[in-house]
């Protein structure tokens, strides 16, 4: 079964609650309508009622079965504001102002367990969605870096079934430090564990394989590997590997002299920089005819997603299913 089919099946079983803070966009109300009618989730759409109804009309859907409300008029504002400023010196009036913002209100719904996931980004910049996520939902245990991953689905060939890999980070961190790269690796292993059918095998990619080259860029990757191992010894992670060593068993057998459960059979590829990650996923997409699904945010205490501004209703529904599959 494909990764998307599994995600849809998982979403249908869980019947989770998804909050959409960008209810003014017709694609959002159309997606919420489809999720509700196909019984994949319980959608909540935020926005001023007249604006959401206008969006529903533009999308040509009947919004009667969808929960929708204006966060600025919610009875939960004070509770969310109080939780938002917990442990900080922020003034109550500022906290109240923050949680009235739809992105932050949606984040607080997830943080307080009133929704399982937030799907946003059609009308907010990635940085804004991440900022709201960090300030409301917060990071997952042991993680201090927000990052992103793509699901790369490679078509079946004569000697191999369709395969799905996780690529990270291809969209958020431009030049992560060793600490940040370790965070990306750990978060990616956790994302893969929830979404792939096989256990995650995480390869730390580099221009070098097991010390074949000496350079600060290589050292960053080996440092990140050590940090990731020290933080979470349960993850199957290895490196530093060139991409062929990570993916091809014959190459790995020649180049890797130590016993490795990752070399030659990696399904999670951690790129050393955003240059490498972004170029890598696009080359795989266009030269290997792979389907790139994402990017999805990761590293947060609960799953949240950042849609591209050009996302279609199909994209939004699929993203919602993948987010719910991770809950």
């Amino acid at each position: 079964m494909s990764v998307l089919a599994r995600s849809f099946e998982s979403a249908a079983q869980k019947q989770g609650t998804i909050v959409f803070p960008e209810g003014n966009d017709p694609r959002i109300i159309a997606s919420a309508h489809r999720l509700a009618t196909e019984q994949l989730a319980r959608p909540i759409v935020l926005g001023k009622q007249d604006r959401v109804l206008a969006a529903a009309e533009e999308a040509g859907v009947d919004p009667s079965g969808i929960t929708m409300f204006d966060p600025a008029e919610s009875e939960e504002l004070e509770r969310y504001a109080s939780t938002y400023r917990q442990g900080r010196t922020l003034k109550e009036s500022i906290a109240l102002r923050m949680v009235k913002k739809p992105l932050f209100f949606a984040g607080m719904m997830v943080a307080c367990g009133d929704a399982d996931t937030m799907v946003a980004g059609v009308s907010n910049a990635t940085a804004t969605v991440i900022q709201a996520g960090v300030l409301t939902v917060g990071f997952a245990e042991g993680i201090q870096t927000p990052s992103s991953f793509f699901l790369m689905v490679l078509p079946s060939t004569s000697d191999q079934d369709e395969r799905c890999l996780v690529f990270a980070d291809c969209a958020v961190n431009i030049d992560p430090s060793a600490e940040e790269l370790a965070d990306i690796a750990i978060a990616s292993a956790r994302s893969a564990a929830k979404l792939l059918s096989d256990p995650p095998r995480v390869a730390m990619l580099s221009l070098s394989t097991c010390g074949s080259a000496s350079h600060p860029h290589v050292e960053k990757v080996t440092n990140a590997l050590e940090i990731a191992r020290s933080r979470d010894s349960s993850i199957l992670i290895d490196g530093e590997f060139q991409a062929d060593t990570a993916l091809v068993a014959k190459v790995a057998a020649k180049k890797v002299k130590h016993a490795s459960e990752v070399a030659g059979q990696a399904n999670v590829l951690i790129f050393p920089t955003l240059d490498a990650g972004n170029i890598g996923y696009k080359l795989t997409q266009y030269l290997a005819d792979a389907k790139a699904i994402g990017p999805f945010l990761q590293g947060f205490a609960r799953p949240i997603s950042d849609l591209s501004r050009g996302a279609s209703v199909d994209d939004i529904v699929a993203t919602s299913a993948v987010c719910l599959a991770q809950t």
Partner: protein, 83 residues
């Protein structure tokens, strides 16, 4: 005489970033000079909205990087919304 927009901007910045208002130069950059984490900038915008009783577009407001830039941006918003 009431405080100038500049004084009020500096006071809000000082409170939000927990620094001394007297140490803030007019041309100071929020992140590089005043130590604001990018994550705090959205709360700084909310604090300005509160102080001046205005609404600001988050994306436009977050593009302002300096104290004097904020003064100019806020003065324009106040003029537009209360002028």
């Amino acid at each position: 005489m009431s405080d100038s927009v500049l004084d009020r901007v500096k006071r809000v910045v000082a409170e939000t970033l927990e620094i001394d208002a007297g140490s803030i130069d007019d041309a100071a950059r929020f992140v590089e000079d005043l130590g604001a984490q990018s994550i705090q900038s959205v709360e700084l915008v909310a604090a300005f909205e509160e102080e001046f009783d205005i609404d600001m577009d988050d994306d436009e407001a977050l593009a302002v990087k300096t104290v004097d830039g904020a003064v100019e941006f806020i003065a324009a918003a106040v003029e537009k919304q209360h002028g």
